[in-house]
Assembly symmetry: D3
Homo-oligomer: 238 residues x 6
């Protein structure tokens, strides 16, 4: 803990004074983060570092494996963070961020590694979809690639879970929210983002390029016009 | 119960003898249903009647509101039916079928009607997404249309939940499963099906028309090619 | 799905028009089903076929193994269907219907068959009572008979669970509800019904025979008269 | 705590020495209790006092309201006590013992009394059946009698729950277990027992009287003989 | 059951009449127990015997292993007993009492003994902390001592769980509640109590000795004075 | 999202290249974080900023309210993070970090603010202990101080929950883990730490001062010596 304490001391005596007015403003006016970021608890994947964000910019939920449990009758911390960010803070973007060399993904591939970690094993049941997809749809994948592909499919699965949350579903249908699926590559510092239209992960941050969006909110009315038109047609036809 | 007993008597003495060989075959070779149908327990919405199907053709799960709870760590009857149908029986199609004048949907619009039915109220939390979408995206909807639209959005929501089940996600990614979203209109006998591409419900069973599919299974590999290509590119670039 | 679509087309163009007035009446006046039927999702066991019932006659809940989870603090679809049928619709009869060659019962006898179906395995814990009864009370049973007997004992177990639901317990004690336990034999088309008094399954639908009832609702007052009488006696005795 | 400590001191210096050999035997040979007693945590209802039992005689589970949650997929302390007593210790009798002036029953009648006790409120959902029976089947009951009748109906409800436990169901079907439903009247010291045949609570312990049993275990085979006979009959009849 | 019935008869005809006025008072004025005792369901460990207490003195919750599940969103019988005793009855002392030769503790050491008792196995997960402590902190313990030490560490663990209950935490912080950890030794009749200050179990009931307390309630204000003082200091320092 | 994308671009082109060797090492040798930090998802409270830590230094779990649910039979993301950090990564320090102006704490004080956030409301039940302590032990607190004091008492409560986790309890008893309770004051940049001995929050990072520890791991053997000594004494005394 010594170096951490030294860091606290440095923060207090050097860093904070330089940002005193920013913190004062944040303390008095509350937070207005631009996005909710759900990422892994892994010490090497710090959302504020890879996005170069400062205090007040991102509401951050971190857990082992950047998991988003589906909405259910008994929910926990991630569901609460989503609800608080969407309903309470009104964020317009949610990022689910996975990464390479993820311990959770590697454990998912070797269940025996979790013998002494029953909670982690239970928690990773929320990534079962990704594991099943890996098995059914990537049959020829070299073993060395498995953890990396699993981490990407896990982002896809968690985005699906996100859509089961009422607050998210409603804002998507109202065209007020976009969902993003990211993958941080520790080796080369790249962040890939899922492109919902092509279904591929592509690098973020290239010049002159708009951001790929995994699920784009779009004002939609599945029922309305169809019903009206159809009801008319039916009446006429009878 | 008298008319039901009469029906049983009639089935046994008249109907069964005519289909004895079919039932024998089904008893000896087991069932091989073509589809899993998840529909409402409503007595007016009999899947075998509206599809004119006989014994052995459809694996049927029915509950109040044609609900599909999202996959979770503690699952129940619907999740088991899905798993059994997809993994155990290998069905290639799943239909979620809602309907007009649905008591569950009407109760969702009037929560006070559920005061004496706490279980139903809890169960319908799985339709919260549809209710939230109704509120956020259909603000100008006439009240008389609300239950109908809610029933359709509920089908959309339950299809989303279906995708959170590992067995479903895996077969979709392997291109071996299609998901269908139906709406049965009691008034005119029409069945509408959600068209995933246009996001509209359109009548099923018109001549010379292929079936609308809500979610089409498609062999996909979000991670693979991109990674390979990208990894190469990165290495070269460094 | 092609034959199913053809069936839908046939229903809409031929069947529905013949029953248009029935469906209209059902749509405008709501459903008033005579009974709640809880049966297996098995494609070969269609409640409306074996009872020769039409639309509007039976509220139907179907799941793998015709399971009724006991009433508990967190309930799901079956509990909701029971509550809705008893409290909301006021049905006077509930039928739990098992059947021969049931995949769920056979899986219960061979747990290893459920290795890839963890949800089904968890769901069938609700049939553990039947499995334990089979083990303790039928020790000399030939193996070929096991699945059949288990399916019958499972009906007994699920009837027991039914009684743990407050709405059911109350209507039974008020003499306003009867519970029925059925077994459909795919081979010969017979439906057997549990006779609560003799504890045997007997064929339904024989001429000149009243229906066996598994649990007959009976107005009862376990506490009242005894207390009054007893209190009196006690006071006198002191 | 002072009087409790004095009691401990007295137990150790006076009571224990007199029973040293009994405790030694119990310590070395383990417990072999005759019965499992499930009673209220109420300080006035001590099972060992009202049955005048000593150490080693009764396995005792006590909780607010002498509740037995139905068997379910997630169970707690009462379910464990039942399983341990029936499977591990092989008891042949289970007593569920309610009592007069029970705080839990009175709270069930006045839910607002539980405003600051959310856990108790949730726990008492397991007594909902009794409350519903009271409402539906005792409509003319004077208010002063309500708590007493509710306590008796609660014993009936908990006996029903007991039967949903696999270990109990199996031993009942094997004729190796009896269930007893008791009610202790604080005012006059009487213990009433439910008589399963007449459905009444009658005083225990009158001379020359056999004990009333609520549910008598009976070797039974609902399926076997019937099937054999029936199968034969059917084959012959075809 | 015969000897139990004889006991009931004896209680009613001999014991109760002698204590009629006590029971009358308890019936009319309600219970005012001095303490909540949470002990094992073991037939040899009767709280009222080892403390020589009579009716009305102790509110008693008993279950296999004297377990106290931590406070959580879904709680059961033990949590309800705690809440009822602390909030409803206002007890000022809670005793968690373990004992030697405890079947639950021995089962925890030999998980295979629980193969046929899945509920007990699940229940004992609440004693996992004690098992882990045994493994990590008592590495040189002779096997013969394991069950005894585990039972003591289990008392420590359950005291920790007690503190997670809001009603307990609040009364501790208000200095209105003391927690006691006891261990009853069947062999010699001694009761040991955990001394929170030295972290040792010491005999209860020695003459001229005050009672050891495991967790002593103490009016405390972690935040207040510090904040005030600190805020001042900070303002001054800036 | 634009500024976030710009940040990603900057990270990739400027920041990462400077730390390429650090990331390479972390990617190839895995993470070895010094501590697990459990903090609020609040955008203004970035653990890496207030401790001036870089990638690889802290395993971070963030959720609304820096909550640690008690160990239970069904656990989620926080429990998994704890288990992974303690068992899988072997961290020796865990920090629970609250903060001033916390939205979760303010919502806990005004439950009506959570009307549209049922998940958050459920999640904050894990902070009920703190709310109860506030009510019982700080009766004269000015309202303006409530949220601040609640946030500190919440840290105390969550530290208590931490101790219910088996992996934490075991390492504490083995003297291999320390628990820290922090409070970050947004207004002045100070971090206060709970001092377990005095029960006060004191500033961290003052020169020439050792760090306050909330719960210091200490090799302890509650049972052992006492038993040995006591057993001896008892034998001798008999
Ligand atoms: Zn990771
Ligand atoms: Zn419906
Ligand atoms: Zn079946
Ligand atoms: Zn009571
Ligand atoms: Zn014990
Ligand atoms: Zn906060």
């Amino acid at each position: 803990m010594d170096s951490i304490i030294d860091g606290v001391s440095h923060f207090r005596s050097v860093v904070f004074p330089e940002q005193r007015s920013l913190y004062r403003k944040l303390a008095h006016h509350g937070q207005q983060p631009k996005a909710l970021v759900i990422s892994c608890a892994d010490s090497r994947v710090v959302p504020e570092i890879i996005t170069q964000s400062g205090p007040g910019e991102m509401f951050v939920c971190r857990n082992a494996g950047n998991i988003v449990p589906p909405f259910s009758q008994v929910n926990g911390g991630v569901s609460s963070a989503i609800e608080y960010a969407v309903v309470g803070l009104g964020v317009n973007d949610i990022v689910v961020c996975g990464h390479s060399d993820c311990g959770a993904m590697k454990a998912l591939l070797k269940p025996e590694a979790l013998k002494d970690m029953p909670n982690v094993a239970a928690w990773l049941r929320h990534a079962e979809s990704a594991r099943h997809v890996l098995r059914e749809a990537y049959s020829l994948l070299p073993e060395a690639e498995a953890a990396r592909v699993l981490a990407m499919e896990n982002v896809v699965a968690q985005l699906n879970h996100l859509r089961s949350h009422p607050s998210v579903a409603a804002k998507l249908a109202a065209g007020q929210l976009n969902l993003h699926g990211w993958f941080f590559d520790l080796e080369n510092g790249h962040i890939l983002a899922l492109d919902g239209e092509t279904g591929k992960f592509l690098p973020v941050g290239d010049k002159n390029q708009t951001l790929q969006v995994a699920v784009r909110g779009m004002r939609r009315v599945v029922a309305d016009p169809c019903c009206a038109q159809h009801a008319h047609h039916v009446t006429a036809a009878e």
